[in-house]
Amino acid sequence: MVRNRLFSIPRLGGLLITVLSAWAALALLPLRLPGMELAGIAPDWPLIWVVAWSVKRTAWQGLMAGVTLGIWQDALVNPGEGWWPSHALGLGVAGALTALLQKDRLIQEDFISVALIVFAMAVISETVMAVQWSLLDHRSLGQIWLDHQRLTLASAILSSLWAPLVYVPLSRLWQSTA
């Protein structure tokens, strides 16, 4: 029974849309639309996607999704040679922590709480990035933590405002194909 349902058409369709939506979240990153940026900073779409994915899944699934999207984001951003901070760490931590929150038991099921989780996870993932920059010695420490304040605030506010746009359709999809 289980094996039959694993490869049914709705499930495969759901899987395809899931993968495409993750790619869409990455493809939105280089875009700056009017009203979508605050102080030159755009919403952190992959973070919103990872939080939406992890809310009702296990910590392992959250971690894997976060690390995967993080590696893809690195591909878009990091220069080829040398060691650069990876987005995989921050997003992986965000995914695992979101799953560990046990939202079903602790928090009401609605997109307001998802927006709040996105806010918190944006702060955490940007802090992980700042710590990596501090360890890697490419930039001066003062500059990194000054940037951290500015980036974290703008990214957390914008991402949590845009979170429902990603979360609602995806959660509908996963409910219908579960």
Partner: protein, 252 residues
Amino acid sequence: MTRLELLRRWWQRYTSQIVAGFGVLALAVYVQTTQAWLLRELYRGLQGGRVPDTRLTDARVQELETQVQALQMQNRQLQQLLNYQQQMPLVTVATTVVGRSASHWWQQLWVGEGSRKGIAPGSVVLAPGGLVGRVLDVTPHTSRVLLVTDPSSKVGVMVNRSRAMGILVGQGSGQAVLEFFDKNPDVKPGDAIVTSPFSTMFPAGIAVGKVESIDWRAMPAPRAMVQLYAPVDRLEWVLVESYGAKSPLLHP
């Protein structure tokens, strides 16, 4: 139940998740090694437009360009007399900006031409106003540019008036910090900043910006805030100039 039995059950229960997880990770690492080649090429297809040919409409620019050409010719002749080697760009490509940095921590641009037009990593990127950045890597039809406003970007520059040298480091905004080598550089607000002749990454004498303020008490040497000429945060098209020579990026 034996311990082995337990382990077997655990494995049966979680094996698909673990295998799927590592499968997706392996795919992601593969995409990483290609620098998201496919996505960037697709992106260019969605966004790519034509470069506005402002030179045809703007007669004043044409007039000034002619003057500059005449001066360049004169300059080259004088430099030949002095036995001085002049760098000239091998290719100059005008291209549109198709995307911005895909991470908050970087100041980058995606532009709509790549290796097919002769752009190579290390090519210099200019905009109306002067220096904008340097090409990090290329696909056949896109290039990724590290802007001079990125905190990882370091450009060897000098004060045009007094030839006081320093390094220009990005601040993530329209301004950059010029860290002087000298303890007592000859500089004052309003001075023009150009790339230094000792820079291995940029040809000498490209306009960068002008000094806004100077912090004389900074350690170990004074620093100046430099306002960049080019409006880096609202560029729509840029000029990419390739000089052929490659040098390691991000390490001046």
